[in-house]
C-alpha cells in the first residue's frame, strides 16, 4: 500500500532514499537584487539535536532555511547530507531527503480532516483503492508513535492553533522527514502550549530527529536549544554549544549592541476617561461570542496593555475599536462621544488613531508612494483636495515634515512603500496615525517583526503619546513589552477579561495562568 506507515521509532532509513547524517550548509551566499540576504553562511545540523537559529528580522534566517528546504536556490555554496553534495530544486526534493519545514502560517486545508491533510500530497492521485478508515488508522498510529494525541477524523478548521501546528509536524514526520525546521513556532502559542510543543520536540530529539527552531526569542533558546547559530545582517556571527552561551552573550551577538533604557515616565494618569468600552460583545459568523462582555476605560496619560494568547478576542476587539467591525452589543465612547457604530472616518474626527496589527494588509498601500500613504486618511477626509483635485504640493510638503519627524529612511516621499524595510514601513504608519495628534491610539502588535532599533522607536513614540496626555491601548503578544510600557494590564481569555491589574501590582505567574485560562489564582482586581 503506497500510503503505508513508515518504520516506527528511531530514525534509521528515511523515506525516499535519503541517507541520515549531518546536514551541512557550506558558505551559502544569496542576494536578492542589491540586498545580500546571506553571505558565506555555514550551518550544520546533526541528528538528535535541537538547533536554534537566532537573529533579528532581516538577519537572513528565513532565506537560509528556505535554501535548506529547497524553496530558494543559493547563488553560491553547497548543501551536503552525510558528506555528499545535494541539489534541491524544490521543497519536494528536500523532503525526499528527509528535510521538511513547518511554516509560521500553516499550509493546511481547513476543510479537510487531519488524516486527509497528513496524507495530502503523499498519495498518488491514481490510487483509487484508498479507504478513509485505512488512512485514518494509519495517521492515528503515526500520531501515537510520535507522542501526539490527534484525532485524525477531526476537521482542521475546528482544531485549536497548537493542535494545527502538531498536524503540520505530523504531516512531515509521516512523509519521512528526519530533519524539521520550525519557523517561529511559538509566536502563536501560550506558555502552556509552548511547554507541550517543546515536550514533543524533545521526544523527537530522543528518537534521533534533528530540529531547527528559527526564533528571535532568547528565552526559548535558553530553554530548549542544544546549539545556537546566530545570524546578523546576513552573516553568521557565531555557533555555540549549550553551556557556552547565556542570554546576555546571545543578545550581544544578535544585535551587536546593548539596549538603552527607555526614558523614565513622569505624569500620572488623569481622571478623565478618553476611551470607555462598556460590556462589548462581538459574535463571529457562527454566532459564537469572540468578545464576550469586555469593559474597560483608558484615561488621559495612560497606556492599557492587553495581553493574551493570540486568538482570544484581541483582534476583534481592536477591529471594533477601529471601526471596521461592528459589535453585537455594548458601547464604545471616545472622549464621551458614542462611536459604537461610527465609521473609521468619523472616529478619526473624534481623535482616534489605529496602528493595525497587519501593517501591510491593513495599514499601508504598498504600491503607492510614501507621500500617498501618508495622505490616505487626509484625502478621504477631503483635506488634500480642492475642487475635487489633489493638492499635490501640500501632500508632499506634509510628507516631508513627517518623514523627518519620524526618521523614515530613505526620506523620499516619492518612493514606493513596498521598497522600505519593515521598520520603516511601520514608521510610515506611525507618522500618519500619530502625526494627526490623536487623543486615543489603538496599537496592535506595533513592534511585531521589527528589529530592535525600530521597535525601540515605536515604543518611545507610544510613550510620547502618553506624555502628551493621550490614551493608548496596546495589544501585544510580547509580555515584556506590555510590562515595560503599560500603566495597567488586562488579560483576554476566550473573549473575556481574565485578569486585570495595575502594572505596579501585577504578578507574572498570575498573568501566565490567566493567559492559559486559569482564573482561580488571579481574581480580577479593580485597577486602582
Amino acid at each position: 500500500m503506497p500510503h503505508a506507515a513508515r518504520d516506527p521509532g528511531a530514525v534509521t532509513t528515511p523515506a525516499g532514499g535519503g541517507s541520515p547524517g549531518t546536514i551541512e550548509l557550506r558558505r551559502i551566499t544569496k542576494t536578492f537584487g542589491a540586498t545580500v540576504a546571506n553571505y558565506e553562511v555555514d550551518f550544520d545540523l546533526r541528528p538528535g539535536e535541537i538547533h536554534a537559529l537566532l537573529g533579528e528580522n532581516g538577519a537572513g534566517k528565513t532565506t537560509l532555511m528556505s535554501i535548506l528546504f529547497g524553496l530558494v536556490t543559493p547563488d553560491e555554496g553547497e548543501i551536503l547530507i552525510g558528506g555528499e553534495p545535494v541539489v534541491f530544486d524544490s521543497p519536494h526534493d528536500a523532503l525526499q531527503r528527509g528535510i521538511g519545514m513547518v511554516h509560521q502560517h500553516f499550509m493546511l486545508v481547513p476543510k479537510f480532516t487531519v488524516a486527509e491533510n497528513v496524507v495530502l500530497g503523499s498519495v498518488s492521485p491514481w490510487n483509487t483503492r484508498l479507504r478513509r478508515s485505512a488512512i485514518e488508522r494509519d495517521v492515528a498510529e503515526a500520531s501515537e508513535r510520535f507522542g501526539m494525541a490527534i484525532d485524525p477524523s477531526r476537521r482542521v478548521r475546528d482544531l485549536p492553533i497548537d493542535v494545527q501546528q502538531r498536524v503540520e509536524i505530523l504531516k512531515l514526520l509521516y512523509r519521512g522527514a528526519t530533519a524539521l525546521i520550525l519557523d517561529e513556532p511559538t509566536s502563536t502559542l501560550g506558555p502552556a502550549q509552548i511547554d507541550t510543543l517543546f515536550g514533543i520536540l524533545r521526544d523527537l530529539r530522543e528518537s534521533g530527529h534533528a530540529v531547527v527552531i528559527v526564533t528571535h526569542k532568547l528565552g526559548e533558546v535558553m530553554q530548549i536549544a542544544d546549539r545556537v547559530t546566530v545570524l546578523k545582517g546576513g552573516r553568521k556571527t557565531v555557533t555555540v554549544e549549550r553551556g557556552a552561551f547565556d542570554e546576555h552573550s546571545l543578545a550581544l551577538a544578535m544585535t551587536g549592541r546593548e539596549l538603552q533604557e527607555l526614558p523614565p515616565r513622569s505624569h500620572v494618569a488623569g481622571d478623565q476617561p478618553l476611551l470607555d468600552v462598556r460590556d462589548l460583545r462581538i459574535s463571529d459568523r457562527r454566532g459564537h461570542g469572540v468578545v464576550d462582555g469586555v469593559s474597560f476605560s483608558v484615561r488621559a496619560g495612560e497606556i492599557l496593555g492587553v495581553a493574551g494568547v493570540e486568538g482570544n478576542g484581541q483582534r476583534e476587539l481592536v477591529d471594533a475599536l477601529a471601526g471596521i467591525l461592528h459589535p453585537s452589543e455594548g458601547q464604545v465612547l471616545l472622549d464621551g462621544a458614542d462611536v459604537t457604530t461610527a465609521t473609521p472616518a468619523a472616529r478619526h474626527d473624534h481623535g482616534l488613531s489605529a496602528i493595525p496589527e497587519d501593517r501591510q494588509g491593513w495599514g499601508l498601500v504598498l504600491d503607492m508612494t510614501i507621500a500617498e500613504n501618508l495622505a490616505l486618511a487626509g484625502v478621504s477626509a477631503g483635506e488634500y483636495t480642492r475642487y475635487g483635485l489633489l493638492r499635490r504640493r501640500a501632500i508632499r510638503a506634509h510628507a516631508r515634515t513627517l518623514l523627518e519627524q519620524y526618521d523614515v529612511r530613505p526620506a523620499d516621499p516619492d518612493l514606493r512603500v513596498a521598497s522600505l524595510s519593515g521598520g520603516n514601513q511601520q514608521k510610515v504608519v506611525l507618522a500618519r496615525e500619530l502625526g494627526r495628534d490623536p487623543k486615543v491610539v489603538i496599537a496592535a502588535q506595533p513592534t511585531q517583526g521589527l528589529d530592535v532599533g525600530a521597535a525601540d522607536f515605536v515604543q518611545r513614540s507610544l510613550l510620547d503619546v502618553r506624555e502628551r496626555g493621550g490614551a493608548v491601548v496596546l495589544v501585544s503578544n510580547d509580555l515584556d513589552e506590555l510590562l515595560k510600557l503599560s500603566d495597567s494590564l488586562i488579560v483576554l481569555y476566550r473573549g473575556r477579561i481574565n485578569y486585570q491589574a495595575s502594572v505596579a501590582s501585577v504578578s507574572l505567574s498570575g498573568v501566565a495562568l490567566a493567559m492559559a485560562g486559569n482564573q482561580t489564582s488571579a481574581p480580577v482586581a479593580e485597577v486602582a
Binding site: V72, I324, S380, T385, L390, R416, S419
Partner: protein, 356 residues
C-alpha cells in the same frame, strides 16, 4: 479571473520599472506577432503578404485610416470603461451591454426629439444622454456589489444580455426600418458632423480623445482617482483610513459605464446614423484586452486601442491578400489577446521569482 488578477498585479510594479516593462511589452508584442505569422503560415498563407494586407487594409489609404480611427475611438472608450473600475479592482466586463444601452437610448431620443433644434444642441443632449444611460446600466452591478457584495462579473455580464435584447426591441418593435436589421436613420441634425472629408471620421473621434483626458485627470489628479487607486491596491487599508469603499465602488462603475455609453453614441450618431443590430463586433469585450494591454493607464489606452483597431480593420485586407476565410481575422485578434496575457503572466511570474 486569475489571469486578470495577475495582470492587475503587474500594474503594481509599474512605477519603478516603466522602462523595463515597456521593453517587455515590445518583446511580448513582437513574439506574439511571430506566433501569429507562424499560424498564418500553417494555414497556407504567406505571412509577409498577410502582414502587408493587414497594414494596407488598416492604413493603406485615407478611407481605411478613417475606419481605423473610428474603431479605435470605440475601443478607447470601452477600454476606459474597463480600466477605471479595474483600477479599483472591480471587474466590469459589461461594457458591451452598457454600450448597447447607451446606443439604444441615443437612437430613441434622436428619433423622437424635435429635429429642428440646432445640431450642436441636439448632439450635446444626445451625448449627455448616452453618458447617463451607460452609467445607469453600470450602476446595477456597482450598487449590488456595494450593498450586498454581489459578484460584479456575473451581474455586469447578465446586464449585457438584457441590453442586447433591449436594443433588439428598439430595432424590431419601436423604431424599425423596413426590411433591414436596424432602426430608422436619425435626422441629420441628430448625427455627428464629419470632420475629415473623404473618410467616415466624425466628431466622435475627438470626443474619445477628450474622454481620455477626463479619465487621466480623474485617475491621476483627483481625490476620487486617488481613492479608486488606493481601494484597488488595498481596499482594507483604504477602509481603515476612512475611505467609503462602497461609494467609490458605485462611482467607479458609473464612470466606466458612462464611457461605454458614449461609445454607443459614437456608433449610432457618428458611424451608422442608426442603431444597427449587432453593431458591436464585441468591442465591449475587446475593451478589456485594450485596458489590460495599456496596464489600465488612460494615456496608454490610446496606442493600445489603435493597435487593436488596426488588427480589426486590417483583417479585411488580410482576407483579400491571402484568400483566407473572414474568420481568420478574428483568429488573429483572439490569438493576439491570449498570447499577450500569457506573456504578461510569464513576466509577472519572473518578476515574482526575482523578488522572493
Amino acid at each position: 479571473m486569475s489571469a486578470v488578477n495577475l495582470a492587475f498585479r503587474s500594474i503594481a510594479v509599474r512605477h519603478e520599472t516603466t522602462l523595463r516593462s515597456l521593453a517587455g511589452t515590445i518583446v511580448a508584442v513582437a513574439l506574439t506577432l511571430g506566433v501569429i505569422a507562424a499560424v498564418l503560415a500553417g494555414l497556407g498563407a504567406n505571412p509577409w503578404s498577410a502582414a502587408r494586407g493587414l497594414v494596407s487594409g488598416a492604413l493603406g489609404n485615407r478611407f481605411n485610416i478613417g475606419q481605423t480611427v473610428m474603431i479605435a475611438s470605440l475601443l478607447i472608450l470601452t477600454g476606459l470603461a474597463a480600466a477605471i473600475p479595474f483600477s479599483a479592482r472591480l471587474w466590469n466586463i459589461g461594457a458591451e451591454g452598457q454600450m448597447y444601452f447607451g446606443a439604444f437610448v441615443v437612437a430613441g431620443l434622436g428619433l423622437t426629439l424635435p429635429s429642428d433644434m440646432s445640431r450642436w444642441l441636439l448632439c450635446s443632449i444626445l451625448v449627455l444622454a448616452s453618458l447617463v444611460a451607460g452609467a445607469v446600466w453600470a450602476l446595477v452591478p456597482g450598487v449590488l456589489k456595494a450593498t450586498i457584495n454581489a459578484n460584479e462579473v456575473i451581474v455586469s455580464l447578465m446586464m449585457t444580455f438584457i441590453a442586447l435584447e433591449v436594443a433588439d426591441y428598439g430595432i424590431t418593435a419601436l423604431w424599425p426600418q423596413p426590411a433591414a436589421p436596424q432602426t430608422r436613420y436619425l435626422p441629420v441634425n441628430a448625427t455627428f458632423p464629419s470632420i475629415w472629408t473623404g473618410t467616415l471620421v466624425t466628431a466622435g473621434a475627438p470626443l474619445a480623445l477628450a474622454a481620455v483626458i477626463v479619465a487621466w485627470v480623474v485617475m491621476r489628479r483627483s481625490g476620487l482617482g486617488f481613492e479608486i487607486r488606493a481601494i484597488g491596491l488595498n481596499s482594507r487599508a483604504a477602509q481603515m483610513n476612512g475611505m467609503r469603499v462602497g461609494r467609490v465602488t458605485i462611482v467607479a462603475f458609473a464612470m466606466g459605464g458612462a464611457f461605454a455609453g458614449l461609445a454607443g453614441a459614437i456608433n449610432v450618431l457618428g458611424m451608422n446614423n442608426a442603431l444597427v443590430s449587432g453593431f458591436s463586433g464585441n468591442f465591449g469585450y475587446l475593451g478589456i484586452a485594450v485596458a489590460l494591454l495599456a496596464r489600465l493607464d488612460p494615456t496608454w489606452i490610446i496606442p493600445s486601442a489603435v493597435l487593436f483597431a488596426i488588427l480589426r480593420v486590417g483583417s479585411n485586407g488580410l482576407q483579400v491578400q491571402t484568400g483566407l476565410s473572414p474568420d481568420v481575422g478574428e483568429i488573429v485578434v483572439a490569438t493576439f489577446v491570449i498570447l499577450l496575457l500569457v506573456f504578461k503572466v510569464i513576466r509577472l511570474r519572473y518578476a515574482e521569482a526575482q523578488s522572493v
